[in-house]
Amino acid sequence: MSQQPRRRRLEVEDSGDVAVVHFVDKKILDEQNIQMIGDDLFRLVDELGRRKIVLNFGNVEFLSSAALGKLITMNRKVQAVRGKLVLCNISKEIREVFEITKLDKLFTILPDEQSALQAF
């Protein structure tokens, strides 16, 4: 009878007024999964009013172009409210995906969480 609990895909910690987001999944794939990750990210801005956000990719081993689309939308949302989004702790392989697609020019990407927090 009870509803299946919605699986948690993001872990959000506060560091001062910065929301630090860790992805739970190693692979950011699958339309439905990406949609839910996108919804959870957008909620941080739209409903929770967060303006300073760090996305920590330390746990992420793989992501597809569909996931990149959500990150672009997230970046736009944060910019629309004059906030700042910083990506960090990205593996060499995934960093290359950002470089191939030239999205490294769109996003602020820093090596680790400490430098990401210092960017605010």
Binding site: D30, E31, Q32, S64, S65, G69, V97, I100, K102, L106
Partner: protein, 137 residues
């Protein structure tokens, strides 16, 4: 070509694509270095999603045919959808500044970057690609 070639016909369903992707990934990991396995996984993921979403438009009556083989020095895969086809030259360059935030073309760009050879056949309904071991990148 190796004798380990496999053929699958899967429905236009991303869960079926996921299972096939896992089978291919397991096979590739036995033969390729980690960065090459990542490259193949990326290209197969993008091509399967393109076939199901853009080719077959998620139509449950349409299928995707996948043939892959793993040889001593190469991985070959051929993915065919039942959609209307497309001209890859018509896909805008997603790295152009004006397109950077648009959603299209990024999968194709990644496929071309990561695979050693990429060919489109049958008016774009089939993508045939290979990855050479120790090739570039």
């Amino acid at each position: 070509m190796s004798d380990r070639g496999r053929q699958h016909v899967i429905p236009s369903d991303l869960e079926a694509a996921r299972r096939l992707q896992e089978e291919i990934e397991a096979a590739v990991r036995t033969a390729f270095a980690e960065h090459e396995a990542f490259a193949i996984k990326m290209a197969v993921e993008e091509a399967l999603v393109n076939a199901i979403k853009h080719g077959n438009q998620m139509d449950p009556d349409k299928s995707v045919r996948v043939i892959y083989s793993l040889g001593p020095d190469r991985f070959d895969v051929r993915i065919t959808d039942e959609g209307p086809g497309f001209n890859p030259d018509d896909v805008p360059d997603p790295t152009a500044p004006e397109n950077l935030e648009r959603p299209c073309g990024r999968g194709l760009l990644l496929i071309r970057y990561y695979m050693s050879e990429v060919q489109f056949q049958d008016d774009g309904r089939t993508i045939a690609m290979c990855k050479l071991r120790n090739g570039t990148p």
